[in-house]
Amino acid sequence: MNSASEYDLDLSDEDRIELLRTMRRIREFESTVQNKFADAEIPGFLHLYIGQEAIAAGVCHALDERDHLTSTHRGHGHCIARGLATDRMAAELYGKETGYCRGKGGSMHIADVEAGMLGANGIVAGGIPIACGAAVSAQMRDSDEVAVSFFGDGALSEGAFHESFNLAGTWNLPLVGIIENNQYGEMTGLDEQHPPAALDDLTIYGEPYGAARDRVDGMDVEAVYGAAKQAVERGRTGGGPSLVECVAYRFEGHHEGDSQFYRDEGEYDEWKQKDPLLTYPEKLIDEGVITEEEYAEMEAGIETEIEEAIEFARESDLPDPSEAYEGLYSEGGGHA
């Protein structure tokens, strides 16, 4: 597993502060909506990203505006890292008409295609073929765009992953797969879901496809950035697909309401030591990149942002029931 030191990083102080800010914004958004969900303000499912912030932040920092990405059921972090607005995200979670999907999608389906965000996805591995298609499109249009797909360790067992990477290998597509290994698929550990041969290094799944393989500390945002940058660069310059495993941990339940009966004793505490929102601020403060005061200020600003986002969501209207019949087709609704 690679740490940041294995990569040739080009991060300025501003960049590093930006990485921290992104992670902090994700964490704040997630903790806040977690509370609102507990208060029954937010309907439906909620899969929190808490613990995995370094992955979204590190990867998205390596992307350009022109790139495309697909996400998962655990997608808020990717959206925020991609630059989506937290108020419209919150509004979507609340099912409001001001949300990114006008309330039609909710937590599992936030998308902003104009921003290159081809959607969260409620289907495990559902985003991978779509990203693969964005990579085909990028290649055919002779652009140097790259398509990045985020997915969990569990998604590696779905045929959709294999067919997409096989196509990407065959066509030499600019597709970057980011495996977020958070140790579990739902409430089942990795060892029940993968052959022993794969457990130590999930990127082995990319071997037949000729994907460039990399395995990094997913709790270290700079390591993730380093790996992602290499993979993206490779895609951009015609080097074909890559598969990057980010080894991390999910601190909350699979979804809100999960009793978390399955965690091993001490496991949580051990991982908690590596929480990027403990370690990275500390590191940047230690290294003098940011002062404690500045960080506190950043945090306060973010708290305000998220509070306002929630306020925006709360105050927005629910869509008019008639909207249910709009938006299915280019010409509108669904009646037939």
């Binding site: 409001k96 389906h109 045929g159 629910l318």
Partner: protein
């Protein structure tokens, strides 16, 4: 053979009946086993299977990787070679991941091979509507599976049915897709305590009535009961029919009721185009044509995926008021 008559009953919720019935069948027959995502530990996506792993061991309650093709396809292979697998597909929308296995393998294997091969395979899944789970998780897809000849498709609605139909499904030598429903798991009612088997392919007249027939499934059956109560107060006598098996459909029972009342409403959570309602309405319209006073009315989803927002989902999913309103147009 008709439904076994069982006199003693006890009150139970659908979710507990599923658990108890699977336990009963696993006790009865060693070749019955369960596989699916998180079926051990968590007890399946709705915790329905809680405790079965401890009771029957991890060999018979098997967590699979997230691989619906392999889950369903290996279930088929095991069914063809001496086992009686019960596969859980967490949400019905995930059935599509095993589309080939369902359409081309499970449904066609016996027929293509000349009819000789028993395939005792049960696939349990659930329809979900009204839980703000959005389009991929909020779906009703029994009609979609019923459109494939070779799959027996059962929808469970009441606790008693649950026992009778699940028992029949596990003992059947044919592939049975059992659609549970998220909105029905916590419904309680009397359940026969003895051996109770409902014939697959038999509908049930759940309430007798003379003025209007309401054919309804799952959550909508419970709405239909509610509507029938309200209408009874208004002096309208509603006969409520539960198809129970969607394929093969017991048209006889449904048509008989339609002939009697001459007025029918079919309520289901599939889309109005190409859904269950259309087929049931077509059968009634054809076979009870000369007894009908009014056209058969279909209540369902107006051909959109299920939207997330409560205000939208409430609009889209039929409820008791929709049934009431529709029945009232006929009387």
């Amino acid at each position: 053979m008709s439904a076994t008559t069982a006199t003693e009953t006890e009150e139970a919720a659908v979710r507990d009946v599923i658990n108890a019935t699977l336990a009963q069948e696993m006790e009865r027959d060693d070749s019955v086993y369960i596989q699916g995502i998180d079926v051990a530990g968590r007890g399946g996506t709705s915790n329905i299977l809680k405790g079965l792993d401890d009771r029957f061991g991890r060999d018979r309650v098997r967590n699979t990787p997230i691989s619906e093709e392999a889950m369903v396809g290996s279930g088929l292979g095991a069914a063809a070679t001496g086992m009686r697998p019960v596969v859980e597909v967490m949400y019905c929308g995930f059935l599509a991941e095993a589309g080939d296995e369902l359409l081309n393998q499970v449904a066609k294997m016996r027929y293509m091979f000349g009819g000789k091969l028993d395939l005792p395979l049960v696939i349990r899944t659930k329809n979900v509507m009204g839980a703000n789970a959005a389009a991929q998780h909020s779906q009703s897809l029994h009609h979609w599976m019923a459109a494939i000849p070779g799959l027996k498709v059962v929808c469970i609605s009441t606790p008693a049915d649950t026992k009778g139909l699940l028992t029949a499904a596990v003992r059947s030598d044919d592939p049975v897709l059992l659609f549970e429903h998220g909105g029905v798991y916590n419904k309680s009612g009397p359940v026969p305590t003895g051996d109770h088997v409902c014939e697959i392919g038999e509908a049930a007249v759940e309430r007798e009535g003379g003025d209007v027939t309401v054919v309804a499934t799952q959550q909508q059956l419970w709405n239909a009961f509610e509507a029938a109560d309200t209408l009874a107060e208004e002096g309208v006598s509603v006969e409520v029919v539960s198809p129970r098996t969607i394929s093969p459909l017991d048209t006889e029972t449904i048509v008989e009721s339609a002939r009697k009342t001459g007025r029918c409403v079919v309520v289901d959570e599939s889309p109005l185009s190409y859904g269950t309602q259309s087929h049931i309405a077509a059968e009634i319209s054809e076979q009870a044509f000369f007894s009908l006073d009014f056209p058969v009315q279909r209540v369902g989803v107006k051909n959109v995926p299920t939207p997330f927002s409560p205000s939208l989902e409430d609009e889209v999913v039929p409820d008791t008021d929709d049934i009431l309103e529709t029945v009232r147009t006929l009387v």
